[in-house]
């Protein structure tokens, strides 16, 4: 475009009009053309051709409405613009126009009504500038700005979402409850640490990369009562059907047999349209609580078993059984035998087939004296090995076969508690953890110790009961025998008194001479003496059963006492056609209690007379070796069965089962009491059918040696 100053100097109106006409024709940046008063195109320039795409011959004479969009045309916009321009002289706008090729252009339009010098309306001048590119650039800029704003917003939103998600993740991962999320197809899409742990995986990632089958092959899913829990009824699966539920689930790890208890709740997660998209399962583990409950239950069951029976062996076996599998995989009861060896009273094992293995073990490898069981027995202190390490097995077991078995059995943890009765260990309870993989802790030891304490108490009770019962039985026996013994002299007295009373009443008493009466009173007196002696003896025995025997020592000749005793029995023996003989050799003197020794010899000779009546009886008294004196009493009676020979010196035991011979079963017991009180010993040598020989060996003693050390219970 020429600069205005270039037009300066152009002289004359005519020349100027030509130049203007050339300008209009040649300007390419503006479409400059003229419309006749009807709106038909009357002129066209290069700019118009460039902008609109039409050649002059294509548009001259055509209505300028062809440049409008169809909508504008139908709306009558072309005419309205012209009317506006006519009315106001000028009209300008920016708007869409259409090129020849149908494409749109954004045009800045100025329409000017043209009047000649006389003021006559001649048509319109129209100048159009193509602003499409500008407009597009503007549009682009606007869009770009909007886009940028949107993107910035999206970024903010995303960051916020990520932050919220990370936070949620962190919360879910770290809460104590196990959380698992399943997709519609049952695959796991989320798991937290606790869930991974519960499913025996090292991390949630490992769990999520495993298949469903891999996950469920690791453990058995059980109901609380131990029955199988159908997988399709698990709360997580039910949630996929839209149901919310909670269940107690017991997971038993197949590898170790260890069990875990959980409250499991499942809830569906719904889409916007209300269909189930996911299911969320939450596991709250309460294994420790269940363990504690089981431990207390075991304690209660064991206590009930211990209280239910006085047969403590059967009871301890029951306790061993109850301990498995609640607190142990193996349990055992060992009882200390009198010779100091251990007797395995009971073994229980989760797997009954391994119980025999446990017995075999004990047979092959008895507990070593420095081992845990004997340590517990010696110290009365319970012991705990939380973890049996391979090093311990290597160090503690010398036999390679034993070591191999220990590894095979997977021994992991062990507790041994003492059974204590009367402040002495009588045995131990052993609890072993193996298959279950559990490791005992101090609280387990507390429970085990309590079981041991209660078992000990039960044993003590059982023993006390059994002793009390034995004592009552013994006393009953004694009372029966004593009352029988007392009845005979009482019978004589009763007959005598009632007979005299009847005679007096019937007037027959006068028939009796004074001599006959004297004779009767003398007999009554003898029977009273006999009665009194019996009562004294019973009191003596009763006294000696509970108290020490007191000795009144004096220089005594055993042969002399034997002679006196024999003299008392001689009549009876001779009456029955027997003989009784004393053979005394050497000095038979010693410091003894004369009346007790008399009692002792009387009992031995009395027995010989009772059982060996009618046959020869031989008594010997002789000086024995190294300050002892020996007494023997031999009869040729029926003898004593071998099985009775070691108990005839017990209280209320008799040498014969015979009903025909009276006796209280106290004589030999008294003999032993008296002999041992003097520091001596008594024994019997008897062959059934050939008679018996009782031998007493008494130390000579000294004046000042009251030797009673024996206690009544021995």
């Amino acid at each position: 475009m020429a600069a205005p100053e270039d037009l300066e100097g152009i002289g004359g109106d005519h020349e100027a009009a030509d130049l203007l006409s050339l300008l209009a024709e040649q300007v390419v940046d503006y479409a400059i053309y003229v419309l006749d008063p009807d709106g038909r195109i009357a002129s066209w320039n290069a700019g118009a051709q460039r902008i609109k795409g039409y050649a002059a011959r294509e548009v001259i004479g055509k209505p300028y409405a062809i440049f409008f969009t169809e909508e504008d045309r139908l709306a009558g916009k072309p005419n309205r613009i012209l009317s506006e321009a006519r009315l106001h002289g000028r009209y300008r706008e920016e708007g869409w126009r259409v090129r020849k090729d149908g494409s749109r252009l954004w045009a800045s339009v100025v329409v000017t009504a043209l009047h000649d010098r006389r003021g006559l309306f001649r048509g319109f001048a129209k100048i159009t500038r193509d602003l499409t590119e500008h407009r597009q650039a503007e549009e682009m800029a606007r869009l770009a700005a909007a886009d940028q704003a949107a993107r910035r917003q999206a970024e903010l939103d995303q960051r916020e979402t990520r932050r919220a998600r990370d936070q949620l993740n962190l919360i879910l991962r770290s809460i104590a409850e196990g959380v698992m999320v399943q997709a519609k197809d049952g695959s796991f899409v989320f798991a937290n640490e606790a869930a991974a742990r519960l499913c025996e995986f090292d991390s949630p990632e490992a769990l999520l990369s495993a298949t469903r089958e891999e996950i469920f092959s690791k453990f058995d899913v059980l109901r609380d009562d131990g029955s199988p829990f159908p997988l399709k009824e698990l709360p997580g699966r039910l949630a996929l059907q839209g149901t919310t539920s909670t269940a107690i689930v017991r997971f038993r790890t197949r590898r170790t047999g260890q069990e875990r208890w959980s409250f499991v709740s499942g809830a569906p997660v719904l889409d916007a349209d209300g269909t189930v998209a996911l299911s969320v399962s939450v596991f709250r583990e309460f294994t420790e609580r269940r363990r504690t409950e089981q431990a207390w239950q075991f304690l209660a069951d064991a206590s009930a078993a211990l209280a239910a029976s006085l047969d403590f062996e059967a009871t301890l076996k029951r306790v061993a059984e109850l301990a498995v599998p609640v607190i142990a995989d193996w349990s055992g009861v060992d009882i200390l035998a009198p010779d100091g060896s251990l007797e395995q009273l009971a073994v229980a094992h989760i797997d009954p087939s391994k119980r025999d293995l446990a017995k075999e073990w004990r047979r092959h490898w008895p507990p070593p004296p420095e081992g845990m069981i004997y340590q517990v027995i010696r110290s009365l202190q319970p012991q705990l090995v939380p973890e049996i390490t391979p090093a311990m097995i290597e160090a503690g077991m010398t036999d390679p076969e034993q070591r191999r078995l220990a590894f095979d059995l997977g021994l992991r943890s062990v507790m041994v508690v003492p059974l204590v009765v009367g402040q002495k260990a009588i045995g131990t309870l052993t609890f072993v953890a193996a298959e279950s993989g559990r490791r005992y802790e101090s609280q387990d030891l507390i429970l085990a110790t309590e079981i041991g304490r209660r078992a000990s108490l039960a044993i003590e009770n059982a023993r006390a009961y059994s002793e009390a019962r034995q004592a009552i039985l013994t006393r009953d026996n004694f009372l029966a025998i004593a009352s029988h013994e007392l009845r005979t002299p009482l019978s004589g007295l009763t007959i005598l008194i009632s007979s005299l009373a009847r005679a007096a009443a019937s007037g027959r008493l006068e028939k009796l001479s004074t001599e006959a009466l004297k004779e009767r009173f003398a007999r009554a007196e003898r029977q009273l003496v006999h009665l009194r002696r019996l009562v004294d003896r019973l009191l003596d025995v009763s006294h000696l059963s509970t108290r020490d025997l007191r000795l009144d020592l004096e220089l005594t000749d055993l042969a002399e006492i034997a002679r006196e005793v024999i003299a008392r029995f001689e009549d009876t023996v001779l009456e029955n056609g027997g003989t009784i003989e004393l053979r005394a050799t050497g000095a038979t003197l010693g410091w003894w209690d004369r009346s007790r020794l008399d009692q002792m010899v009387t009992n031995l000779v009395g027995n010989a007379v009772k059982y060996g009546l009618g046959a020869p009886i031989t008594v010997t008294a002789s000086a024995g070796a190294s300050g002892h004196v020996r007494l023997t009493v031999r009869d040729e009676g029926p003898g004593i069965p071998f099985e009775h020979q070691n108990r005839i010196f017990e209280q209320y035991e008799r040498a014969t089962e015979s009903e025909s011979l009276p006796g209280m079963g106290l004589g030999l017991w008294l003999v032993r009491r008296i002999v041992t009180a003097h520091g001596g010993a008594v024994n019997v040598d008897s062959v059934p059918g050939e008679g018996s020989t009782f031998s007493v060996l008494l130390p000579v003693g000294t004046m000042a040696s009251p030797t009673e050390t024996e206690t009544p219970s021995s």
Binding site: S483, H484, R487, T488, P489, L490, S491, G492, L493, T494, I495, L496, S498, S499, A501, R502, A503, R508, K511, L512, A516, R520, R523, R526, Q527, H530, N576, K610, L613, G614, S658, E659, S660, L661, P662
Partner: protein
């Protein structure tokens, strides 16, 4: 062996305790019976086999040499003796006394009233 006053009817007492035996026999004589007293089953059996049977045998059970139960089973081997009535005198239990298959059981300590009451049933002519 002690003899009473009259008739061939007599009581056989078998008791090992000398005081009881002598007291009982004297008391029965005082009551008017004839009495034979022995100290065990063997002596009693010997007496029965050599003499006319008594109207009653008062038998102690626990005795040396031959006890009351053995005596009863030995006695029953002789048809002539099987019908002689036997009354047991004992401090033993009823069940054990019953094993002697006696007409009656008298429990020790014995009272003469009871003894005479029992004896009268079997020896009606003895008492004066």
């Amino acid at each position: 062996m002690t003899s009473g006053a009259h008739s061939s009817e007599y009581i056989l007492v078998v008791e090992d305790d000398r005081d009881v035996r002598e007291t009982l026999c004297e008391a029965l004589i005082l009551e008017g019976y004839s009495v034979v007293c022995v100290e065990n089953g063997r002596a009693a059996l010997g007496h029965l086999l050599a003499n006319v049977p008594p109207c009653i045998i008062l038998l102690d059970l626990m005795m040396p040499v031959m006890d009351g139960w053995t005596f009863r089973s030995e006695m029953l081997k002789f048809p002539a003796l099987a019908s002689v009535p036997v009354v047991v005198m004992t401090a033993a239990s009823a069940a054990r006394a019953a094993a002697a298959a006696a007409k009656a059981i008298l429990y020790k300590p014995l009272d003469m009233g009871t003894v005479v009451g029992t004896v009268q049933e079997y020896c009606p002519h003895g008492a004066a």
